[in-house]
Subunit: 210 residues, 2 copies
DNA sequence: CCCTGGAAGTAAGAGTTGCTAACTTTATCC
DNA sequence: GGATAAAGTTAGCAACTCTTACTTCCAGGG
């Protein structure tokens, strides 16, 4: 398909059969999950939206769960990228950089609560998939590196690991609570950024020692 | 069958038709969710286990989602009770009492990860149900009261509310992470109890101020 | 004591879904 | 220019949700 004249670098558009289902399926499912909740999706409906028969997706995915895993994997990549971008907006080693990573996490959960729930809420064998596990570890690695830079310790230092875990669980819980109950921290007259900076300082600074 | 000698205070057993489906359905669904994951349940299978036809449950629940909500409601009651029991094992106002509440929370998530996910993972209109919202607030209230006692402030004090929210999100995130990835805090050579006490002290003590 | 009303069950069925099997179309490779 | 394989189609089965119409059993009033 590549030695034809040109305009075929990406197999994206209107190929004979379809071109790139799989990517289109993942996009469709992401939309469905976002609008109808994590379980309010069906492969039939997603196929319908992609304009193919309901059996077509099974040429690209083994079953329903594998489609979900595809969506989660793609979401994890975007989440990690957002975290890295957040960290890059502040000087390396600063507490603000750590807080920015947390803010990216929370923002992701807020703007895509459906996929966020899908990724972390139901298990579905997510944690049994080595690929997804690796992506999760990669995302965690962003926190670890920021914490390490902030503390001036190597990333594999146990204290760094413990602090990173605390930060992660804090932000993870905050994310879930905000999208669950709409209970914003604002109800306690604190906005997200101040909250996250406070927490990061408390855990990494003179605060909580593990 | 009720005016026989006695032993009929509870209509539990072998009534003519059935007696108390609804309770039995909730129990069956809880089991299914626990063994097959939050979405690996069907009302048909639950009805089968309860020994009734697949249409019977619809005499007691409007639809599938309402059954789920019933399970979540029951779980919330048990969770709150466990938290209260945890708090009662240590002197009121002590940091240990706060940590005990957190431990009860985490223990619940560990022993019933399926229903925990069901309760907090998928939304499904859970937060739109006023009954479930109330139960959630009740559980949060346990944390608030413990934090207030510990800080020597009234429960409606903003600082108390902020601290309670921090504690909750911390424990919530920790619970999710442990059941998700089996990443125990043990990997950082800290056990749960020490971890929770440390965190509670950090947030309530001289530590993080909001 | 019957009988009527309603609560709680059943059976049957429509519509949707997950997934498979068998077949067709299209691009590529030798 | 065919064989091959990838990627699509239709048809269909089993399971599931939920509805409708019917049945069974208990309870209270005359």
């Amino acid at each position: 398909m590549t030695e034809h004249p040109a305009a075929r670098t990406v197999p994206a558009r209107t190929a004979y059969h379809h071109g790139d289902l799989r990517a289109q399926m993942i996009a469709a499912v992401r939309d469905l999950v976002e609008t109808h909740g994590p379980d309010g999706f069906s492969v039939a409906e997603a196929a319908r939206r992609a304009g193919v028969s309901s059996a077509a997706p099974y040429k690209h995915f083994r079953d329903r769960a594998e489609i979900l895993r595809g969506v989660v994997g793609e979401a994890m990549d975007r989440l990690r990228a957002a975290m890295e971008a957040g960290a890059a907006t502040y000087p390396a080693g600063s507490v603000e950089a750590v807080a920015a990573v947390g803010l990216a996490y929370v923002s992701f959960a807020r703007t895509e609560p459906g996929v966020f729930r899908l990724a972390f809420g139901l298990t579905e064998g997510h944690e049994n998939d080595p690929d997804l596990r690796a992506k999760g570890e990669d995302a965690f690695g962003v926190v670890v590196r920021c914490a390490a830079a902030c503390l001036g310790l190597p990333p594999d230092d146990p204290h760094v690991q413990a602090c990173a875990y605390m930060l992660w669980s804090f932000v993870h819980g905050h994310s879930f609570l905000t999208i669950d109950s709409k209970r914003s921290v604002a109800s306690t007259s604190i906005d997200d950024w101040a909250y996250l900076v406070t927490v990061a300082r408390g855990i990494l600074g003179q605060g909580i020692r593990a």
